[in-house]
Symmetry: C2
Subunit: 95 residues, 2 copies
DNA sequence: TAAATACATCGAAATATATAAATATTTAAA
DNA sequence: TTTAAATATTTATATATTTCGATGTATTTA
């Protein structure tokens, strides 16, 4: 369980989700079940490494991804609790 | 029931949600249960009319709001089906 | 320890978005 | 049929974001 999100967090998460590359990154990581390596994800895109780093940073800063370092690699999982809290916020607009 | 959203639609909806004013506009409309008048919503903000119009347009263009004209007023409801479809997309990242 | 790999950060250019003033359009009321 | 009210559109400017190349920092391997 996670506390409900405030409006600033919802804004940040929404911004992070408002880009096609970042949506694809999330999808790749979510489909990879376990931790996905950063360099493997980057290989799927035709973007400079610094650009990928920037996109991933936004997803991590929005708490949509949880990052873990393994040696010189970075690995990720989708943050389920934050996704759920975000979904709760959207749903609260619908009741 | 609505067809599931494609990634372009998810991107557009996320962008529309990625602004504090637009989040507040949505909240006001959702809390107002029935149709909310555009000018009443605008009165809640310290923004120029053209700016409000621009924000509301983005919410309508993203299909988050359904607009209806009543005389010279515009009224809105939250589009539940689109919210639900959006939530479904986010949830699909979590499974 | 030197070289290579993985990732982050910085600086600059291009593009997109937010905001507002001015103006236009539509509809209602006088 | 003027006039006023509600909203949209256009234009301009300020700010934010995207992207990349160059460079920096760890960490691993030769």
């Amino acid at each position: 369980m996670i506390a409900s999100l405030n409006i600033k967090q919802v804004e940040k998460i929404s911004k992070a989700l408002g880009d096609p590359y970042r949506l694809k990154i999330l999808k790749i990581i979510s489909e990879n079940q376990n931790f996905s390596k950063c360099c493997d994800i980057s290989a799927e895109f035709n973007l400079a490494q610094s650009t990928m780093s920037h996109h991933i940073k936004q997803l991590v800063d929005a708490d949509l991804l949880i990052a873990g370092k393994e040696g010189r690699n970075l690995k990720f999982v989708v943050n389920k609790e934050v996704c759920t809290a975000y979904v709760d916020y959207i749903n609260s607009l619908v009741v």
